[in-house]
Symmetry: C2
Subunit: 221 residues, 2 copies
């Protein structure tokens, strides 16, 4: 892949200065913007345009990209489709990731049907719950499995990313079961922070925090 000629390899990148969390998140945004440009058949894009689409500065866009290689043509800009693929590669979207969900409540069920996931290569192939009344029921193409067998199920389904979608009281326990089963990347929807060893990556989606930030804004302006 031509891409690899201009981009540092994984090994090199590991030796390099650590890439910041915010850069990664913006990359994900650029990716989405580029997707939309490609759909509209817009072949070329400048850092200025990309910045405007995401409400940031063009210098930020160029700096973010510069950590991973040089992707543009001076005086011209970037090829939308090529840049999209290159960012996709950086983000690890080149492969399909197998995703397993812990908790078949509102959130768990919604995520099984979340079209954006499959579109980006996240394949939900397992959903588990502890409630006997829920185990065995069908959610789209999946049958809810018994979370007492987490270890076995995770291995059988080759799950690489775990999602915690259980009530906050059980969140740590659910995460522990996933980690125990070898999962090293967890997306947590419960409104508590989860403890994990440093080799396990946890990201949280916490609606309460977002809406309280809005509350703060409204209360203080």
């Amino acid at each position: 892949m031509q891409f690899h000629l201009q981009t540092p390899s994984l090994g090199e990148r590991e030796r390099m200065k650590k890439i910041s969390e915010s850069t990664i998140r913006r990359l994900s945004r650029y990716y989405r913007s580029l997707e939309s440009l490609v759909e509209q058949n817009i072949e070329t894009v400048s850092s200025d345009k990309l910045a405007e689409m995401d409400g940031i500065t063009s210098a930020q866009v160029r700096k973010d990209l510069s950590f991973f290689g040089t992707f543009g043509k001076r005086g011209l800009g970037y090829n939308s489709n090529t840049l999209k693929k290159q960012i996709g590669e950086i983000l690890g979207l080149g492969k399909t990731w197998k995703v397993g969900i812990m908790g078949a409540g509102n959130i768990g069920r919604a995520l099984v049907n979340y079209a954006e996931f499959r579109k980006q290569g996240f394949d939900v192939t397992l959903i588990m719950d502890a409630n006997p009344a829920v185990i065995g029921t069908q959610i789209a193409h999946l049958t809810v499995q018994d979370s007492r067998h987490t270890g076995k199920l995770i291995k059988e389904h080759d799950i690489e990313i775990g999602i915690v979608a259980v009530p906050k009281e059980n969140a740590q326990q659910a995460a522990d079961a996933l980690i125990e089963a070898g999962i090293r990347a967890i997306l947590n929807f419960a409104p508590v922070s989860i403890k994990a060893p440093p080799n396990v990556q946890i990201k949280s989606e916490n609606t309460t925090i977002e809406i309280e930030a809005l509350s703060y804004f409204l209360a203080n302006s």
Copy 2:
């Protein structure tokens, strides 16, 4: 309220150095941790303990609080219940905020029933959709309203916080309708960035970004 004696008033705070987004988000986390301590009848807490619960440093906790006043007793720590109330006050949780949802799909429906919202004083009293097949149907205690009447509905229900839970193609348009109706705080669940005038605050919940950050981590380690 005794609290106001030691804490800068809104007016004072406005004149002060702007509080960072991350500080606000951490405040929201401390609030949740304190809630749990209060439930366990733990009366006193140190910045160290609070930090440990949230996986950060104690200096960070003390610094965050110091922007708003002095809440602790040297050599002792903080009173859990008092600090909880004080942070709640800062975050504007002293009042009930009326919330309106745009979009009665999976996410919209899940949010109507989200217990954590009501618990923190966010009261969902309106849900709207554009689809005639959905308008008029019941979701818990709410009847789905016609989004063509957004302006009127928002005013009738005194909505202060809007939630965008429509497909990404319609997200900007949905936000525009809310802003047009006078909404100044929007929580966006669509995976696109929304443009708004500077006096309107937008927070986004973007699951795709979080899971792609996990993908990056797995692909690069």
